[in-house]
Symmetry: C2
């Protein structure tokens, strides 16, 4: 984000950073506006840097026995390849997608978790790259981190593998799931998932929890599916109580209660689990400075 033109709640027009690449002239106010959910002012113009498009991409789907193994694979692959995606989903997510779409089993050996890896290569069909990938796979199998894998041979197969991941959100919609969009440090993920599952189990018996997300970013989407027997209202009430316990787990692991989607109204209760009282006081002060009459998207965030 090279530059922003904003109108603050006080009516000032600010041209922030003016598209410069280097600028060290006091506080960088640009970043206050990014992710401020419209509470400081209105962004009228934004100037973005373009980056080089990705090179050739190869997509591989790996079956992994548990979350720790999944992270070992991430570490191992990251050291060797230019990863453009490292996504993850559980066997429950896969089963739901297959139920809805009729897609075939992706691997002959089922696994509790799957990692979808997309790797950039400079040269299409590069033999040295394929050799390195095969070696990486063999090492990961030898270590017990991977139980099975498939490598897309062409773009159509690559798109097919992506569908297992990309169809999850739509597939789950009919279950009216309770969703959380959480992040922690990547290294914390195994303990974090274990702790969240523990508190969720405390609130729901016979639950279906579906995990998927962007493991490479430490970002998990938690979905709790509504059991058919439970009324929607009782389910949401129960979820909200569980939500507080989940937020406590997030806090204990130094994580974020909203990785991608912001706080808005729905997550206001969880904000103090990711930001300290001092930070929230400072945020309120900043809000009051940029928007003294509280007219910019009032009551959001805090």
């Amino acid at each position: 984000m090279r530059g922003l033109t904003v109108v603050t709640g006080a009516g000032d027009v600010l041209e922030l950073n003016k598209g410069l690449l280097k600028n060290n002239t006091g506080y960088d106010l640009r970043h206050l506006f990014i992710g401020s959910e419209g509470t400081l002012g209105i962004i009228c113009e934004a100037e973005l840097s373009l980056v080089r498009g990705p090179g050739h991409r190869r997509v591989q789907l790996l079956g992994v026995p548990d979350m720790s193994a999944c992270l070992e694979v991430l570490r191992f692959y990251r050291q060797r390849f230019a990863l453009s995606a490292f996504e993850f989903f559980s066997d429950v997510a896969l089963a739901k997608v297959r139920e809805k779409t009729g897609y075939p089993l992706p691997l002959s050996t089922p696994a509790p978790f799957y990692a979808l890896v997309e790797i950039e290569t400079e040269i299409e069909g590069d033999e040295a790259f394929l050799e390195a990938l095969l070696q990486a796979f063999e090492t990961c199998c030898g270590q017990g981190w991977v139980t099975d894998a498939v490598l897309a041979e062409n773009i159509s197969q690559a798109q097919g593998l992506w569908r297992y991941r990309e169809d999850i959100s739509e597939t789950l919609a009919k279950f009216r799931p309770y969703k959380q969009d959480l992040s922690v440090r990547v290294s914390r993920l195994p303990e974090f998932i274990r702790d969240v599952e523990r508190v969720v189990a405390r609130h729901f018996s016979n639950l279906e929890v579906v995990w998927y997300g962007h493991i490479g970013d430490g970002n998990l989407h938690l979905n709790i599916l509504k059991p058919k027997a439970l009324e929607a209202d009782s389910f949401m009430e129960c979820c909200h109580r569980a939500g507080r316990d989940i937020a406590e787990v997030v806090s204990a692991h130094g994580g974020s209660v909203s990785a991608e989607h912001g706080i808005g109204l729905l997550k206001k209760d969880w904000l103090p689990y990711s930001r300290s009282d001092s930070e929230i006081t400072l945020m309120r002060g900043i809000k009051a400075m940029f928007d003294p009459n509280n007219i910019m998207n009032p009551d959001k965030i805090f």
Copy 2:
């Protein structure tokens, strides 16, 4: 910058972003501290992301007839290669460096400006890359953007070419130069240099202006060398008057009066040429919030 732990002037300890890759929980206060020159608090811990090291690098020195041509070369090369540096210096800078060091002429055809280009390649000694580089050079010559060039054949030659650029700052030190560290949009550079030279010429007759810098970032280091005949005090007084006119040129081109080095005390007078009154008022308000007793590096920036 993934995370900062800071102590504010109010004594609050803030753990900002906690090393997360994705976090959308209100205002991102981290970026206020980056470049705040110690005026908001003390940074106690900083967590940085590591990036992949560069691949093999090839270094080329190009003679260019003027600044517009230099930018055409930048654009042309950027579209075709992964540039890790695109530096620039004037013939005056080269002459001073050669005078001090006795380095040979880098090119057989002298030029008013030189561009030092560093390009990353995946494979060492890649024939296809060298072919593409030769083609690019020929096209640039055909367009009149480049008059001569040399490509380093090995690391030692690459280091030799870099010396022409890296020795400039030390070489100029004995002239006790008046320095400015300016940036504008890359596309503005030719008009910007022309306008700055015009106002400098108004203040100094018989001046030596030395330009060099990071053209790829729009960042120029302007050095005005003290004429031997002029007393140091008179020179600096004259420079300060010229500085105001230069700041006005920066402002007219939407640039930064301090690209890399911050404002501190020396550049306080120039701050309003890069930041508006509203921005400075907001910055003062932020300072007052984080440091209500004005104990953190007082009187700096504004």
